[in-house]
């Protein structure tokens, strides 16, 4: 069992190493190797899940020791880990297969697939980790692989800037995370998750809002919540499968997963705060998505919005529902991203939706699967998204009414912009040459789409899944099923998506080159496009505050540390050398003179005139 886990974890690392050392030039072999590796990962994780059904796998070894504290490297494969492992492995495998088709004409395939392997390694590390420090290590590794993959087209300015932005913003969140880890160790004396759970159980007073909010900073950075959400839309500069895997299904879900792992530490105030932040994010991202033109950016904002939903679910005290929504979201969001990838690939890398149109007739499989994804995310009844979203809304209605209102408005907006996306892209007439030429892609790309579409349909029926997978979410699902006002919620939810569909159809049914919203409600349009000026604020801070400070520090460093201390020390030695050199003339008389002086000094010391 342990060896199985170790193989699982290190298999992608091995594949990445082989790609790095031997397969740089050989893109074909690298891509096949990577796909087979991800297949292997899927098999191994299924084996692990089946075998760990009764008892969670828990194991560790000491990595190194410092004083009385040992840093351990270990695995904890319990209920939430199993579900995330399944999601990561399964969706990862499908995306690897899709990448085979999507990146077929890319010259730097080895680099891409190597990066994907490193990402799988890091993500599996986060999933399996059993202590906070190990999570942090793999956290950073995931951030690094994200940086690597976003910068795949590094020759373009967009991609280079975006990867830097992603990494740096992530780092800011990780700083808070690190402080949280230190505080945790200080308060509890351990960073191991199981021990923390026991300790928190034993004495709930130990934890504090500061502690859990600091740890939640990691979540805010990684899952792009407010105020560190600015990197996710820009990260769409990477290849589409990367966006699907990392920025929709798995990495951003790692933040939610972290919250789940430490949920025993959270105080009610912190939970409230997170719920509120998540709900606000859900709504804000909806407004932003409504006015985007780039298909991937719309999907990115929708990811932000859904992450807000998951955060709200967690904050409302339903972590199991959060995980459940994470799973269903992974399915339909990956589906939609891959669908958009298929569209982009067919239209020769055109990404503006107003240059699409009429693709349903030309790319039927993509269109139908994409539609299923849209229906799922809008909460159409009996699809997967419906079950998880409904649960969240019901919980919000019963536990925290303001949050519910915000979430419901968000749900309305989701339906509106998702149907907008569908109608503009797939319906109507082709609006550009690229769109006219589009044709359906090959099986490598449509296959995963179909599989994900099926899962998006049936993914909500928790009875279909083995108990081992959904073990973490089942209690919450049961609990939600017992909550009152269920009927009212069904009505509200259904009306939300129907309204969205009708509104979208009428507003965006027939469009030209420009967004109809910009002509009808320009003020509102501009407000939404501004995204509340977050990017501008950060830019201002960077240029006007941080850069001058950095320059000032550089000058200080040059003056004092390099100049005074480093060269100064050298200067003092040089001074002594100069003094010594001055005695070194060639004249005998000078030498004998110094001889006398030396003798006088010695005699004076012997007599007692000078004392040392």
């Amino acid at each position: 069992m342990i060896t199985l886990s170790l193989c699982l974890l290190f298999l992608p690392l091995l594949s990445a190493a082989v790609t790095l050392f031997f397969l740089r030039k050989n893109g074909n072999v690298a891509s096949l190797l990577s796909v087979f590796t991800s297949g292997g990962i899927l098999l191994l994780s299924l084996l692990l899940i089946i075998n760990s059904e009764d008892t969670p796998i828990s194991w560790d070894i000491t990595w190194f020791e410092m004083g009385g504290w040992a840093l351990k490297f270990g695995f904890l494969l319990d209920a939430p880990a199993r579900l995330l492992l399944f999601v990561v492995a399964f969706v990862g495998f499908l995306i690897h297969v899709f990448s085979l088709g999507y990146m077929a004409d890319d010259s730097a395939r080895s680099r891409y697939f190597g990066g994907l392997s490193i990402f799988m390694f890091s993500m599996l590390g986060i999933t399996l980790a059993d202590n906070l420090i190990m999570i942090f290590v793999f956290w950073e590794l995931v951030g690094f692989s994200s940086y690597l993959l976003i910068a795949h087209y590094f020759t373009t300015e967009d991609a280079a800037q975006a990867s830097k932005k992603a990494f740096i913003v992530n780092r800011v969140g990780d700083f808070g995370f690190l402080i949280g880890i230190v505080l945790t160790y200080w308060t509890f004396g351990t960073v191991n998750l199981s021990e923390l759970a026991d300790l928190a159980d034993f004495d709930p007073k130990l934890t504090s809002t500061l502690l859990c909010l600091a740890l939640a900073c990691g979540f805010i950075g990684k899952s792009a919540q407010f105020p560190l959400h600015v990197w996710l839309p820009d990260a769409m500069a990477g290849p589409t499968p990367v966006s699907a895997l990392i920025h929709a299904a798995t990495m951003v879900a790692a933040g939610i997963y972290l919250l789940l792992r430490i949920d025993f530490l959270f105080t009610p105030e912190a939970l409230n705060l997170i719920a509120l932040l998540g709900a606000v994010m859900g709504l804000y991202a909806g407004f932003c998505a409504l006015v985007q033109r780039d298909i991937k950016k719309i999907l990115a904002y929708s990811t932000l919005s859904q992450l807000g939903y998951m955060a709200a679910a967690f904050g409302l005290g339903m972590p199991g529902i959060a995980l459940f929504h994470l799973m269903t979201h992974a399915f339909f969001k990956a589906l939609m991203f891959l669908g958009s990838g298929s569209v982009i690939h067919a239209c020769h890398h055109e990404q503006d939706i107003f240059n699409y149109g009429g693709l349903r007739k030309r790319m039927p499989i993509t269109a139908i699967t994409f539609l299923i994804g849209v229906l799922a995310i809008s909460g159409v009844n009996f699809l997967s998204g419906y079950f998880s979203k409904d649960a969240i809304l019901l919980g919000a209605y019963n536990f925290n009414l303001p949050v519910f209102i915000i979430l419901y408005l968000g749900a309305l907006l989701t339906a509106v912009y998702m149907f907008r996306l569908y109608f503009i892209t797939f319906e109507g007439e082709a609006r550009s040459h690229n769109s006219e030429e589009a044709k359906e892609n090959n099986l490598l790309m449509t296959g995963p789409l179909v599989v994900l579409a099926v899962l998006s349909v049936i993914g909500g029926y928790h009875a279909l899944f083995p108990v081992s997978l959904l073990e973490y979410s089942l209690p919450d699902i049961e609990m939600v099923a017992q909550l009152p006002h269920h009927m009212w919620m069904i009505v509200l939810g259904t009306s939300a998506w129907i309204f969205g569909l009708i509104f979208s159809r009428s507003f965006y049914g027939k469009v030209g080159e420009d967004d109809p919203l910009s002509s009808r409600f320009p003020g509102f349009f501009d407000l939404c496009r501004s995204k509340l000026f977050f990017d501008e604020i950060y830019d201002f801070y960077l240029k006007k505050v941080q850069n001058p400070l950095a320059n000032f520090l550089e000058v200080m460093e040059l003056l004092f540390i390099s100049g005074l201390m480093v060269r100064g020390l050298a200067g003092v030695s040089a001074l002594f050398a100069l003094l010594a050199k001055a005695c070194y003339v060639g004249k005998i008389h000078a030498y004998s003179f110094w001889f006398v002086v030396g003798t006088i000094a010695f005699i004076a010391y012997a007599v007692g005139l000078i004392a040392f």
């Binding site: 060639g586 004249k587 003179f593």
Partner: protein, 102 residues
Amino acid sequence: MESITPHHFLILATLLFVVGFLGVLIRRNVLLMLMSLELMLNGVNIALVAFSRSSLNLDGSIFVFFIMTVAAAEVAVGLALLVALFKKRDSVFSEDMRLLRN
């Protein structure tokens, strides 16, 4: 005046030594420097013999014997070196023998 004591001899020896040292310091001619060196050695000899006489120990005198031997050999070698140097530089002044300067 009291009778001459060993102290007087020591003062004399010191004076002779200091005079010789002064000669070494202020003369530029290497020959004269060597002669001043001999003067210093003589001062030391006087001190040694005075000690030998006042403590009734012949060791001091025998040491003077050896000092004389060494001084003679040293003068011989030193002058030979000076002659060799003179052949190269045509000068006996120490300012012209400064190859080891900085």
